[in-house]
């Protein structure tokens, strides 16, 4: 019971962190930098779940995150969930084969993960949306993929800290850059 309570607390906190990060991305960043493309910080949370949580738990939490993130934009919920689950699956697949513990791995994963998400979204948009993406905005997407990892290390440490605070045993022990 205590373990479950801690998990609920962990999930709630995780969701709050997602909301804070997405708020930063959609509001604070826009206030500071105007039309400069914002980093996709929320994706880092999905990547974290895929890399450091158990699959079922991670997917469930990802869906909850998708429901939260949905209210920050106008991407259809179904498409958002589909994008997330595909991203989750690919990242999990890669992690099973290539993995080393630590923030450095998360940093690299975030760079590739954002690229991957953009590709998944483009493909899914063309496949499922009535009005698919009309403008590829390649430069904007590359810029987003480059700036997002800047936030990867802080996100990693915050989530590790929260994990430890709520007594959540990680799927894989973290390595270097340990707090």
């Amino acid at each position: 019971m205590r373990k479950f309570a801690f998990f609920v607390l962990y999930s709630f906190g995780f969701l709050m962190l997602v909301a804070l990060a997405t708020g930063f991305q959609t509001s604070f960043w826009a206030q500071l930098f105007g039309s400069l493309p914002s980093p996709l910080i929320w994706i880092l949370f999905i990547l974290y779940l895929a890399l450091y949580r158990r699959p079922i738990e991670g997917i469930l939490l990802s869906y909850v995150c998708a429901a939260q993130v949905y209210f920050f934009g106008w991407i259809p919920m179904g498409l958002l969930m589909l994008n997330i689950v595909i991203l989750f699956g690919i990242v999990y697949f890669v992690k099973e084969r290539i993995f080393w513990p630590g923030a450095r791995y998360f940093l690299i994963a975030s760079l590739l993960g954002v690229f991957l998400y953009q590709v998944i979204y483009l493909v899914n948009s063309w496949a499922f949306e009535i009005i698919p993406i009309r403008d590829l905005m390649i430069a904007e997407r590359i810029f987003q993929a480059i700036i997002t990892p800047i936030f990867a290390v802080p996100v990693y440490f915050i989530l590790k800290f929260w994990e430890r605070l709520t007594s959540q045993t990680p799927l894989i022990e973290s390595g270097e850059f340990e707090l």
Binding site: G34, G73, Y121, I131, D135, M137, E140
Partner: protein
Amino acid sequence: MNFINLDIRKILLLIPILSLPLITINTQQMPRPSEWYGEPLALVASKSQGFYNWFSDEVRGTASLYLNLIDIKRDNLSLKTQNAELKAQLAAMTELKLENQRLNQLFAFKQKTKMDLLGAKVIGRDLSSDHATIMIDRGGRDGVKPMQAVMTIEGAVGYVFRVDPNTSRVMLITDRYAVVDGIVQRSRARGLVEGKSTDACLLKYVNKSADVLTGDLIVTSGLDRIFPKGLPIATVELVNKKPYTVTLDVELKPVVNPNKVEELFIVRNANQVDLEETLPPQEAQIPTAEVVPAAASAASAINTNSNTNTEAETSRTPDSEATTPKVIPANPIPAKAKTTEANSKPVAPATRVTR
């Protein structure tokens, strides 16, 4: 004799010594011509004095610099802090001034118009760069409802599509899901304005024979029951006429840059206001990008038949009447057609394609 004890040699030595100042005083009183040997000596003297003067100044300056170093450091720090504070204040003041100007304009517009407008502020952008939506600080509690138009003084911004109690989400006209019924202000050609990317729109379903030129202003038709009539939406950037299609490909640039909007209005009730009455007649700047030969020949045939079909307008060349200023009537008639047939029929509106 010896009581005085005078030493004659000493007296002789004393006399010239004492008389020297008297002789000198006497010679100073007399005008003296400058001797050739005096000039270099004077120069050396002046240079020497100058050098010592400079040296003493430097020494004094350096000494005082070191002596006052602590004070200077403190003053410097204080001035730097003060400068930073003043800079921050200046930036804040400039920001306030600009905001005040914007708000004054909005207020003046709101006072002047008959529409029921509600001011709002942009508080957030879209999560994904593939969608163009914004969040505003007005919601259901302020009387905001879905499908209400959102605009600025310059033109249309978008429409409300999701309403929460305290906030609302606005779909910008640049979003690919946004559709606004629009007309070309100059020629009244009709089409649907759809979003394309973050700073571009498309005018779709415009009859190929319609008169659309680069630089034309697209305004709202008012038929979608969202926007008031005559609100500027965008200007035509590019007109592309493909040979095997029935509609024109028209690229637009929004009048309002959606990325820079900070304050805006929600139109709660347009009160049947026609904003076009307040707009000056607009003139296209550059004619259509390309003229398809088939269309051109068709147009010439139409012109010779004195028909007022709008095909004639699309085939105009840069030196045609499109570049000359004129007052645009509600249903413009090609000049050639006018000259050949006085009782010409009005231009048929472009076919509206529903999706």
